[in-house]
Symmetry: C2
Subunit: 144 residues, 2 copies
DNA sequence: CCTGAAGTCTCTAGCAGCTAGAGGTTCAAG
DNA sequence: CTTGAACCTCTAGCTGCTAGAGACTTCAGG
């Protein structure tokens, strides 16, 4: 039996994140010790590792919820899993395409910047007016 | 003078977003009509278009705040703008690299899936165990 | 001039996916 | 038996908006 901290270490997931997953129903409520602390077994570790790996692969939590419920029914067809994975692949590809367009635009801006003053800075100028852009990159794309 | 709706249409930004930008100090508080409605001039439109385009280029709002304050001082050096843009480019490139690794992993999973049952589905199996992966993709990457 | 619809106002709450903190309890080592 | 790390619950915060409630303003048509 693992405490939440050990579980987190074993799966590479932070403790508050585990509690969060429990709260939103991705992880089942575990047993508790006499002193009310969470105790986890091997299956919880496997499930958490599954979740973590899915997150690393970029699946949103809702997709992971679906994948988990699929993996709970081993004798069913895996077509649904295939669809989820393909959707994710499509999302990743779309994101790469958008980011690649952004990259080109940023590179263009930067190479054109003559390092003078703001008044004739291509960066500020290009940002101020989309018509200076070579490409369309209209869909917004957050980059943390 | 433009009402907030017209401004939004002109800049391609939704009305609540404009109010949000004002709230966080990205846009100055505009004049008001006799009936307390916001009224914007040309400079507000330019500023908002600048913000929108920056967002399209993926700049986070804090970076946009800096870019805006730079563009308010046209006679200064544009080195700071250059740094912000280069940081953004680096962030975009890092993101592309991570997504490309994810893409490869997803493709591998999907092509290996024999479309049988969950029990022998490579997708579920690979997700369940990172050691099945060809590459490292440890940094998590959200894809909306 | 009046009506009604569209637009605007403020305020609060919600989305993803956590993360951080307060203030208190439990557990394990020494 | 004491200490201090780890645990508990609860609330609030992060980014960048978006949605809704309930009230007011504006404008076009009649």
């Amino acid at each position: 039996m693992l405490t939440i901290g050990k579980l987190g270490d074993a799966a590479g997931v932070k403790v508050p994140t585990i509690r969060y997953y429990e709260q939103i129903g991705l992880l089942p409520e575990p047993e508790r010790s006499a002193g009310n602390q969470r105790l986890y077994g091997k299956s919880a570790l496997e499930r958490l590792a599954f979740i973590r790996h899915s997150r690393e692969l970029g699946f949103p939590l809702e997709a992971i919820r679906d994948l988990l419920s699929l993996s709970d029914r081993p004798d069913q067809s895996c077509a649904a899993a295939d669809i989820i994975a393909k959707d994710q692949l499509a999302a990743v590809e779309a994101r790469i395409a958008r980011l690649t367009a952004l990259k080109a635009e940023l590179e263009r801006m930067i190479t054109q910047c003559a390092q003078g003053t703001i008044a004739d800075c291509r960066i500020i100028e290009v940002i101020g007016d989309h018509s200076h852009c070579a490409q369309d990159h209209r869909t917004s794309e957050a980059v943390g």
